[in-house]
């Protein structure tokens, strides 16, 4: 599988040097904690007895709830999950830190949010070394190092984006094989999309395809008059109900919800899938630091990683996909195409707003 991360990394030599530097940095920082230290963390976590997790994905990733329940069962540490939107999680964490009233011990984030919280809000602290840290795919670690957020965000999975179609409205011979096929005039007014002007999946798709296909692609796509929405799960429902022929970008994590329906199908275009990293971060001051780190470690456990794959998310731990059902494996095997560029998020959001009025 060929993976290219971002537009800036062009040569094999650069990639090699970066991998080398990640290995060196990883080695020096100790991607894995010594076993003795980690046992002490576990003991301290049990004494803390509680963990508060802000789920900034708004409940869209069911694995978080699954992990919270299993963690509680295994360690006897109560996990309180508060569901909210990413912007709300960011502001709650910021105000808690500034007011000196920390509540959240962990917050689920995407890479753009983690970059913002680290560099602009300065509300995150390094998670520290985890025993399973070295199991995280080297490609993910490399990318996180490039953005400078490897220390504050633990990636547990990768969300891939494809196209959801209504098979009654899109005959097999007309199914899109490429992202370019969305520009076919027959789909004008029949597309629904996650709004690219706001942080989220639509923006991930915009950033990735803007880099790969350029501004003219998006100008042509905007001319197709897609229906812009932020209610992404409901957008998939609307495709299933026949209100729209296709939804793009379709987060594979939403697929379990509609996969039983006979009239929908997910397609992964031949160029590959735009993608985004999903993970957790730890605010600067927390009340249950050990429980937070133990939970971060638990997210990399085989149990959670396997569940992530079952929920159609590409697990961060290489090999965890192997035990997933074949239809899941096929989808998750899609080539990773491109993703956002957190430091350029502001600029790209403005561009998206210019194009999609």
């Amino acid at each position: 599988m060929h993976v290219r991360f971002g537009g800036g990394l062009r040569s094999v030599g650069t990639v090699f040097l970066l991998v080398l530097s990640v290995c060196l940095v990883g080695g020096l920082a100790g991607w894995s904690a010594p076993a003795g230290d980690w046992a002490a963390v576990g003991e301290a976590a049990r004494r803390e007895g509680q963990l508060v997790l802000y789920d900034g994905h708004g409940g869209a990733i069911p694995t978080i709830q699954f992990a919270a329940e299993r963690f509680q069962r295994r360690y006897g540490i109560r996990v309180e999950v508060s569901v909210m939107r990413a912007s709300e999680a960011v502001e709650r964490v910021r105000i808690e830190q500034r007011a000196g009233r920390p509540v959240a011990d962990l917050v689920t984030v995407g890479s753009t949010t983690a970059w913002q919280m680290k560099n602009l809000d300065r509300t995150l602290q390094p998670i520290g070394s985890l025993p399973s840290g070295r199991k995280v795919s080297a490609q993910i670690r490399l990318q996180m190092e490039t953005w400078g957020i490897a220390d504050v965000m633990l990636t547990e999975a990768v969300q891939l984006y494809g196209i959801l179609i209504n098979t009654q409205l899109v005959p097999p011979q007309e199914e899109p094989r490429s992202w370019m096929d969305l520009l076919d005039s027959r789909w004008r007014g029949k597309l629904i999309t996650d709004d690219p002007r706001a942080p989220g999946g639509g923006f991930v798709f915009f950033a990735a395809t803007y880099k790969q296909l350029g501004r003219r692609y998006h100008e042509a796509l905007a001319a197709q008059r897609p229906f812009l929405t932020r209610a992404i799960a409901e957008a998939a429902n609307r495709v299933a109900r026949g209100e729209f022929a296709m939804m793009y970008p379709f987060a594979l994590g939403l697929y379990p919800r509609v996969r039983e329906l006979p009239n929908v199908k997910v397609l992964m275009p031949r160029e590959g899938a735009p993608y985004v990293f999903q993970g957790v971060s730890m605010p600067q001051t927390v009340r249950h630091p050990n429980a937070a780190r133990l939970f971060a470690e638990f997210l990399l456990s085989e149990e959670v990683q396997r569940q992530l794959a079952r929920d159609y998310l590409l697990p961060a731990v290489a090999g965890a996909t192997l035990q997933a059902p074949p239809e899941v494996r096929n989808l998750l095997r899609t080539r990773l195409w491109d993703t956002t560029d957190p430091p350029r998020a502001d600029e790209l959001l403005k561009t998206a707003a210019e194009i999609y009025r």
Binding site: G58, V83, V103
Partner: protein, 577 residues
């Protein structure tokens, strides 16, 4: 003005006056803490370049950014939408309220409860239901139209008309809910006097009923107008896709849809909304204080229904039609949706009970249901009591004019600021309380926020009802030896309880539906229903959102029906006595 009395409080003794002034001033101070403190954070946010806690400087950048052609147009259009929604809502609410409260239409109490049902449906679900009914291509109404007449169906809920329709539904339900109690208790002898003087029924309605009902109507209309001005979910789901922007969706965009939230601009929008709507409150207050129009006096009052005779069944048919079109369609979608395997896909094998089983076994939703019930009951009760106190002081007390005006204005403020930005203001305000007061992160923060948010509706509904009761009844009780508390309890409370009960129900519903402050303040482990609806909605589990809505809707509907029945029974007893 035929039959209208103007009651003005008599001058009290010095000691009584001081005691009452003290109590009223104490209420003013309490409201100040509850309302002004978070509002001050909003003002601070609008005048500072960074959000609270971050280094920044004084600036007017938010207001400057607001002063753009686009934003001014949004304000103007928002005003238009709110006026259209609340105006049509008033006309419909008054007409339907009059029918169910003042006529002998069959099933009046049931109609009353049915017509108010849209109030109890979560806005996201209402928007989704109308999206399914009137989406341009796949909407059921358009499909039915195509089947009957051919061609494209004319319905499109993602339009100006769709947004107005959405606003009208809530506005009608709200205004009807507020108006029916006072309309039912309306003294029919006032109407009779008008008729005796030769006025037609229609003219009597205009010249007698409307002026006497002015305090209730103006309160209901103004509340509904401001709610429309700050309406969020409908414009977001139905308006934005059609390029329609309203104030609340613009604030939402500025806070939630940018890489970095622009708090100076968002809070400036909140402050401007407050400044634009506050004069309306002042105007209504000025008009109302010119005279308190009472219909329940010491001469005995005789509320009796108007006999429709041959029109009885025609009016019944009209009620049925309205109930089917405006209530039956979305509520039917909701109830059916809770039994469908997949919301919106019908068929022989499409039905299931599994969503009920899943919801009733989901600890997250069950916990939220329990917390909401507790917060709803306690919050609505506190809001009802506070609202009654506010209404009593501003409408009936003999406190100084500035105290009464202050109490009245403060009770409006939480409504005058859009909920999207008010949730952030609550977060800032409670987090930055002195360290000795640990409100943030506890369930108490939510309770305080809910009581603050319910204050406008509780005080408006109660103010309208209090204004209708003549002060001579209280004076009569005091002459008979009753003390102040006994007078209030056995005279005023006996007469206004249906409105007080409605204020409790409306406050409870508001707490159940409230999202912005709930997300910002929910304590860990104490999630509430509105947040669990966001959670289910976020996963696209519409069927389970329907189940939650049905579980909430049924008891509220029964409660609303019971209030109507009890009031009717009491009025019948009163008339018979």
């Amino acid at each position: 003005m035929v039959g209208t009395q103007v009651w003005r409080p008599a001058a009290p003794g010095v000691r009584t006056s001081l005691r009452r002034q003290g109590a009223a001033t104490l209420l003013l101070l309490g409201l100040g803490l509850l309302v002004v403190y978070p509002t001050a954070f909003l003002l601070y946010g609008s005048l500072y370049s960074a959000p609270p806690g971050d280094p920044g400087s004084l600036t007017a950048q938010g207001y400057r950014a607001l002063w753009s052609g686009e934003n001014l147009q949004i304000l103007l259009e928002t005003f238009g939408f709110a006026l259209a929604g609340s105006g049509a809502g008033l006309a419909l609410g008054l007409a339907l309220g009059w029918v169910v409260a003042r006529t002998d239409v069959p099933g009046a109490t049931l109609w009353e409860a049915v017509f108010t049902l849209p109030l109890f449906i979560p806005p996201v679900l209402m928007a989704a239901a109308w999206g399914m009914l009137a989406a341009p291509r796949a909407g059921l109404l358009n499909a039915a139209f195509r089947a009957l007449f051919g061609g494209e169906g004319p319905f499109n809920v993602y339009s100006v008309g769709g947004v107005v329709w959405y606003l009208v539904q809530y506005s009608t339900a709200f205004q009807l809910s507020v108006l029916t109690g006072p309309l039912r208790a309306f003294d029919a002898t006032l109407e009779d006097a008008g008729r005796v003087c030769g006025a037609s029924r229609w003219r009597t309605f205009w010249l007698v009923v409307l002026p006497v009902m002015y305090p209730v109507i103006s309160n209901a209309f103004l509340y509904s107008f401001v709610r429309g001005f700050e309406s969020f979910e409908g414009p977001l789901l139905l308006g934005l896709p059609a390029g329609i922007r309203m104030l609340a969706t613009q604030i939402y965009e500025v806070i939630h849809q940018r890489h970095r939230p622009d708090y100076p601009l968002a809070t400036a929008m909140g402050v401007v909304a407050l400044l634009l709507t506050a004069p309306l409150v002042w105007l209504q207050w000025q008009m109302q204080r010119r005279g308190v129009f009472v219909s329940i006096t010491g001469r005995g009052y005789a509320p009796k229904p108007v006999r429709l005779r041959r029109w009885r069944w025609v009016v019944f048919g009209g009620c049925l039609l309205y109930a089917l079109l405006v209530v039956g369609l979305p509520v039917g979608q909701l109830v059916l949706g809770s039994f469908l395997r997949f919301f919106g896909l019908y068929g022989a094998n499409a039905w299931t009970l599994q969503h009920y089983q899943r919801v009733l076994r989901d600890p997250f939703v069950l916990g939220a249901l329990r917390n909401t019930l507790l917060l709803g009951v306690v919050g609505a009760t506190l809001a009802m009591l506070l609202g009654a106190a506010v209404a009593y002081v501003s409408v009936r007390s003999r406190a100084a004019g500035w105290v009464r005006a202050g109490v009245n204005l403060l009770s409006w403020i939480p409504l005058l600021m859009p909920g999207v930005v008010l949730g952030v203001a609550f977060l800032w305000a409670y987090a930055f309380l002195p360290r000795s007061i640990s409100l943030y992160g506890t369930v108490w923060a939510l309770l305080f926020a809910y009581v603050t948010l319910c204050l406008p509706v509780a005080s408006r509904v109660n103010a309208g009802a209090f204004a209708q009761v003549s002060g001579e009844l209280e004076e009569c009780a005091r002459v008979c030896g009753a003390d102040g508390w006994r007078t209030f309890w056995s005279v005023v409370a006996r007469l206004v309880w249906p409105s007080v009960a409605v204020s409790w129900i409306l406050s409870f519903v508001l707490i159940v539906r409230e999202v912005s402050a709930s997300i910002m303040l929910a304590a860990p482990g104490a999630q509430v229903l509105s947040v669990s609806i966001v959670y289910l909605w976020g996963q696209g589990r519409l069927e389970e959102v329907c189940v939650v809505a049905v579980l909430v809707l049924v008891p509220i509907f029964l409660g609303r029906y019971l209030v109507g029945r009890l009031q009717r029974a009491e009025l019948r007893r009163g008339s018979a006595g």
